[in-house]
Assembly symmetry: C2
Homo-oligomer: 550 residues x 2
């Protein structure tokens, strides 16, 4: 039985990702989206959520390689702005449509219509989500599926997609206010794990009395009936071990898992064979790992046609892996290689290496996350505009540090001095240079505590060169880098007390966020910005400049 | 014992309004405000509220006549814009700083600092509050007190101010989402009535279970200890009948009341004598009238020094007037006249009369409020900018109607056809013309139901010419207009099944909202906009134009 293990959130699991219908030429695919607040009950608890055309998750964008996607987004949020990021789409030639508020565009005002237009140049499974404040948590996310023009290197009969998401009952405002408070109020564990926007909260757990009639839990609400994946038994395909064949838009040398570890911002395609007893249905489950969470598993039903799709499987849902067993997570990370025949070799050496120490800190009494002891603050004027139009006052001109005190810092201890500074400074990269990034994890401000952080790079894919436990050894560890068949990705975890190394080519003119994909961590400063080749860009669209005052 | 009866909300009762310290010349008074979300417990229930410099209500602006107020407002609301209206300040020469989103300015973006600068040209009691979406309900409001340079026509020893506010436990987003829903979800009655930001909710009434730990009720939280007005007994002043001496910044021919009816957006100054038994404290209470509300009275303590200020009065709070007894409310409206020696006579005749029928309607299944069957929609581009820069596409160019079907419409019945239309059209007034407005109330969409609406005019004061019951008689009622000593106001109620007539001079170049001051009613379309003398305005400040795209 397939078990998808969701570390944190907004991960994307596609049960066979790519449809193979060759078409003569690229198409233009137009979408009109209205974004607004509506009451929904994704896990049976009624809550105000942000919908796209009345739905959360929003409509799936389905396209073919090289198609142009045009999304006309109308903001109907009353007093709240919005921006949407197309996660995994590199935006080559259109860096202003990356949708990252404060980095590539001003936010879209209430009443305004903003048109995103970009090419999906590579087949694969991607996602989109709000990239402003903590709006993603409010339900503003969805899937992008880009099919290939070429035959795929594996066969299947049909495909389904599942998008995973953590779900909180507090509003994003309440979450953000708590994170900024002194004393700090953590958002806590999610109340539910959603599969394709559906979960099931145990209504009897609602204990705090409230005057808020909106907080009603109704277990019979059809909005929270479990997601059902209907399969036809004995077809020559999906089976309950999963064969991983794609990740973040790149073919993977196939490998078989029972549990797939997915980190927030990652996407995978797996093959499943429907070769089990066809007289019953099966559970698919998703669990939290890496933290000792109280969140119950997210459940979907794999429905063996013609059994009734609501018929409960006769066995208990399979247990997830142990939350604190780190070895299988390292093993999976290290098992993923580029598929033979589809290997894109990295440059053999890097022009620059930057080490990012991941720490939890305090700044003026507030809890923050930092890299190299600098906690990131987004400026009001987006970097892309500030850089192109030479608005040097718009952000701190001092670049943040390239590393930390490798020699003396003990990654297994709480830092001697947990104070950090904040900055809006950025890393300026030589255009087309090769850059190595080492993510170095460390202890948090709690003794014997460290967290997994999934880091997402905008505007690029990178080669994953290696993972390790402990402190990265600048001399010996690079010798072990995989330069033969590294997988390319846009999101990668750094494991607890471990390091992760990757390489990328700074060949996409623009300003690009690189940050922990846990929304609350980025909100608390866990991110940086890279800029490269700005001088190669033509004039920026005026539509992205709405917040810039001269 | 003084009883303040609050009809709906955000009313302002000043126990003596004006301090008499003559100063040589006008001053500049600078304020730096940070607007953000914080958890507060104004009525003992913890809720996310919008604060100014950590407070709700925000800081009181205290100034002298002809001072210049400069408020540097920094928006720290994360993803939400803001705009603040200076209620009762006419903004002569500065119509762009009226703070009305969609009418006089674009909203202020998160991270942005916007500077309001205006002259308080007239002594009196005013208020300020958000004028964007339903942000006022989130706690964004406060007081403005402008003292006179001239001696006042009454004596007192000292002064205190009280600002009244309705308080809801639902967030403004939840309220607005309900109001826009099909089926309609009314915001309901307020959970508490606040006096100077303090109320006291009965925690045992929290019955709906919730996962939301924020909805915690703590009756011992000092934030919700009752407001205490400390008085010194037997001083020659405050007494427990109230002598009304000022309203909306104009001296009133003094009259004595036990209960003062205050409608949302109104301000009053009253004299009170502390001539009661000095060995005890007293209750001051505020109640809802006009609707059969379940909201408990708002309570403050009048503390007779040196009794302990927390000592509970030994008697029960006085009961409010009957919610459905309309006669005393008409009586009070009709009792208010301009004070002898301070009468500003109105023009003897009007150049134009506009009748506004107030009705409840449906538009595409949504519940709405309308005037003359047109429900108001704010455009994205503020009128002031659209008119000055001749952006004719920015709003409907058809002016809304000057009246309704006087002959056939039965104001005591539900309308035969409750459908209305929406429009962003406006009333263009001849500069310096004299305009009469007749507010005509009517039945709602419920049989035998009508509501009181307090209408607020921006940018002007008006002469209140008369009130009446039933349908306004175009031929006979104008003969009864008070042209001798009408009070000037900026907010006036139209009573149930009644009419209210006023006159104003269209002598303030700009675009000015005129609307029901119940925030949810304006949100649902109960408003219009007047424009006059736009051609006389110089260039508009670019800071107000942030949302305008060319």
């Amino acid at each position: 039985m397939a078990v998808a293990d969701n570390l944190f959130i907004l991960c994307f699991l596609i049960i066979i990702s790519c449809v193979n219908i060759p078409l003569a030429e690229a198409k233009i695919r137009r979408y009109k989206w209205e974004v607004k607040y509506e009451y929904k009950s994704p896990d049976c608890v009624k809550k105000l959520v942000i919908t796209i055309n009345g739905r959360t998750p929003g409509p799936t964008i389905v396209a073919e390689q090289n198609d142009t996607i045009i999304v006309e987004l109308k903001n109907r949020l009353l007093t709240e702005n919005v921006a949407i990021h197309w996660h995994g789409i590199r935006q080559i030639g259109t860096p202003w449509f990356d949708g990252t508020e404060g980095v590539t565009q001003c936010p879209i005002l209430p009443g305004e219509t903003f048109t995103y237009e970009f090419v999906v140049d590579r087949p694969g499974t991607y996602l989109y989500h709000a990239h402003y404040g903590m709006q993603r948590e409010a339900g503003l996310y969805g899937s992008i599926r880009v099919s290939s023009k070429e035959p795929e290197p594996f066969a299947y009969d049909y495909d389904k997609s599942i998008i995973l998401n953590d779900w909180y009952h507090k509003s994003t405002y309440e979450q953000a206010a708590g994170l900024s408070s002194v004393p700090f109020q953590w958002v806590g564990e999610p109340q539910s794990l959603l599969l394709n926007g559906k979960g099931r909260f145990n209504c009897s757990l609602l204990t705090t009395p409230s005057t808020n009639v909106a907080s009603v839990c109704n277990a019979t609400n059809p909005e929270c009936s479990p997601y059902t994946l209907i399969v036809i038994p004995w077809k020559n395909l999906p089976g309950h071990n999963m064969t991983v064949v794609e990740a973040d838009g790149h073919y993977v040398e196939p490998f078989v898992v029972q549990n797939l570890f997915i980190y927030s911002g990652e996407t995978y395609s797996v093959l499943i064979k429907t070769d089990q007893d066809p007289s019953r249905n099966y559970w698919a489950t998703t669990n939290v790992v890496s933290r000792n969470a109280t969140t119950p598993p997210g459940l979907a039903i794999i429905n063996y046609y013609p059994n009734h799709f609501r018929r409960s499987p006769p066995t208990n849902p399979p247990p997830g892996p142990l939350w604190n067993d780190i070895a299988p997570r390292y093993n999976q990370s290290q098992a993923i290689k580029a598929r033979k025949g589809f290997i894109v070799p990295p440059a053999p050496t890097a022009d620059r290496m930057i080490v990012f120490l991941n720490t939890q800190n305090t700044v003026n009494g507030q809890y923050r996350w930092s890299v190299n002891n600098v906690s990131f603050n987004l400026p009001h004027t987006p970097y892309l505009i500030a850089l192109k139009d030479n608005l040097l006052h718009a952000f701190d001109q001092t670049p943040p540090p390239n590393g930390y005190d490798f020699k003396n810092y003990n990654i297994y201890n709480v830092a001697t001095n947990t104070n950090a500074t904040t900055s809006s400074g950025i890393y300026r990269l030589q255009f087309n240079s090769t850059v190595d990034i080492i993510l170095q994890n460390a202890n948090t401000m709690t003794v014997n505590n460290t967290e997994t952080h999934p880091w997402h790079l905008h505007g690029h894919d990178f080669w994953v060169l290696g993972y390790g436990e402990g402190k990265f050894d600048m001399y010996n560890d690079p010798k072990k880098f995989n330069l033969i068949n590294p997988i390319m990705k846009n999101t990668v975890p750094v494991h607890q007390y471990g390091w992760t190394a990757f390489r990328f080519q700074a060949d996409n003119p623009g300003a690009w966020a690189f940050h922990c994909h846990i929304e609350s961590h980025f909100y608390m400063g866990m991110g940086v910005v890279f800029a490269e080749g700005i001088e190669r860009l033509g004039e920026l669209p005026s539509a992205i400049k709405g917040c810039v005052r001269r």
